[in-house]
């Protein structure tokens, strides 16, 4: 893969890894990269290749989200390490890119980029996030990140954030402030009639057992607040849950929305795991949040969720939701919170550093 002096700018976004975090950050970055380039005649030809092995990617219409100048390469999430490495090697060996952006894993999800990156003649950018210190130490990541031209830190503390080529931004979000649905529109999108009751959105994300747990909690909430709360179980795509034949409470619905963030203003509380998107989206939009920190090999979710927002058991969740229900009865109109989408800062930093 060599850098070309002319022709379209081709960005390779390495978003490998499970869950929605890598994929959503890469989607947010792709949108702004493609939008930013549209002002310049040459850069109108800018295109993005997004590489993912998330099990969620198969059911998401990412191409519709990004438009015709984006290509999404979905590596089968069920492949083992060796087969996954072979796929990544094939992708990197088959096309030229002018810049490579690697999300989170400096050496790649399987360490395969340790072989690939040093040979690339193009610009290399790492989306640098918090990482398990044992991982950093074991693979000497402080030395390895010297392979990158730039480190972009998307809104959370990271071990090499003080490196001279590191730039910190606000959290990256897949929608700008003016792209969010209004509370009224968002409630409509969530199939909530009127504004008489508060809405608890339970996100069905993470691993299958975690999604199942959230589904059970969502139905229990609906049972326990039958006349005072609307509960929506929001999934990114149709889950492997056999909910069609179950009798569910009247104030409970399963809704498929991706990205959910666009409808967040319809929620009075968001209940989720402790992933990057859930926590940062709720914080940005000023929506109450409570989350169960999930155990991950690299991502330390317990560090992301504030102690006030952290729950482990259903009774803790019930108490938080009860507060929301009580507050809703007494609250006056709440003005939407403003936020800055850090992905614009990131793209500015990346483009301004390009030769």
């Amino acid at each position: 893969m060599t850098q070309r002096a002319d022709g379209p700018l081709h960005w390779m976004l390495y978003a490998m890894g499970g869950g929605m975090g890598h994929l959503t950050r890469a989607t947010a970055l792709s949108r702004v990269l493609l939008q930013s380039s549209s002002s310049n005649a040459r850069q109108c030809e800018t295109r993005v290749t997004l590489l993912t092995n998330s099990s969620f990617a198969a059911g998401l219409e990412i191409e519709d989200e990004l438009g015709p100048r984006a290509e999404v390469l979905r590596i089968d999430s069920s492949l083992d390490r060796h087969a996954t490495v072979a796929e990544v090697q094939r992708v990197f060996g088959s096309g030229a890119a002018d810049a490579v952006v690697v999300d989170t894993f400096p050496r790649g999800l399987a360490g395969e980029l340790a072989h690939i990156l040093p040979r690339l003649g193009c610009r290399k950018i790492l989306v640098h996030r918090d990482l398990n210190p044992k991982y950093c130490q074991q693979y000497r990541l402080a030395e390895f990140v010297e392979n990158y031209d730039q480190l972009i830190v998307p809104g959370e503390a990271a071990p090499f954030e003080n490196f001279p080529n590191a730039i910190s931004t606000q959290p990256w979000l897949v929608r700008n402030e003016d792209e969010l649905l209004t509370p009224h529109e968002a409630r409509f999108r969530l199939a909530v009639n009127g504004n008489r009751l508060p809405v608890a959105v339970v996100l069905g994300c993470g691993r299958l057992d975690e999604i199942n747990q959230m589904y059970v909690w969502a139905t229990r909430l609906a049972d326990e607040f039958p006349t005072t709360l609307e509960v929506r179980f929001v999934v990114m795509k149709n889950p492997n849950l056999d909910v069609t034949h179950e009798k569910t409470p009247r104030n409970f619905k399963v809704i498929a929305i991706w990205p959910f963030f666009q409808a967040i203003r319809g929620a009075n509380i968001v209940i989720s795991g402790g992933g990057y998107n859930s926590v940062n989206e709720a914080k940005a939009a000023g929506v109450r949040f409570c989350g169960v920190p999930r155990r991950r090999l690299y991502d330390r979710q317990e560090n992301r969720i504030s102690s006030a927002d952290c729950i482990q058991r259903f009774d803790e969740l019930r108490m938080r939701v009860e507060e929301v229900v009580l507050d809703f009865r007494t609250q006056t109109k709440i003005n939407p919170v403003s936020y800055c989408n850090g992905v614009h800062q990131a793209v500015n930093a990346i483009l301004s550093a390009c030769p």
Binding site: G18, G21, L79, L109, A114, Y139
Partner: protein
């Protein structure tokens, strides 16, 4: 023609039960085959780094040749007395199935004794599970 190695990471393919690629950064170059290897896969020659470092593949070959030489010299390879210089090789890479048995020293050198209770491939999963949470770059569903 000498083989060309990737200088960016350890080139050894080795493992306790299965050979697999190692992507760790290299610390040494094998004095025999010039392969870049990490500290896990680099072995001090004669127990002294100043003498040089061998990769796991070469040190196995070297050890095998030594055993043959010793067998020729003393009729059979019979114990640690003849292995003093190779204590540095007393690592899991070089253990054979009967390492723990009563005839440890003989089999350690010959490596031909079959033990029906030896580890099998089926044990790999339990070994990996025991190490869960510490094994990076192996689970493709992690984040």
């Amino acid at each position: 023609m000498p083989k060309s190695w990737d200088s960016g990471s350890c080139n050894e393919k080795s493992g306790f039960l299965f050979n697999h690629e190692c992507f760790q950064p290299p610390d040494h170059v094998c004095m025999m085959c010039r392969k870049p290897v990490c500290s896990d896969h680099g072995h001090e020659f004669l127990g002294d780094e100043k003498q040089g470092v061998l990769c796991t593949t070469c040190v196995k070959k070297d050890r095998k040749q030594l055993s043959k030489r010793q067998a020729r010299e003393v009729g059979r390879s019979n114990g640690r007395d003849n292995h003093d210089d190779y204590d540095a090789y007393d690592e899991p890479y070089f253990w054979c199935g009967y390492y723990y048995g009563a005839t440890h020293h003989q089999s350690h050198a010959a490596g031909v004794v079959h033990d029906p209770h030896d580890f099998t491939e089926a044990d790999a999963e339990s070994l990996q599970a025991a190490d869960e949470g510490e094994v990076f770059e192996t689970d493709m569903s992690e984040s």
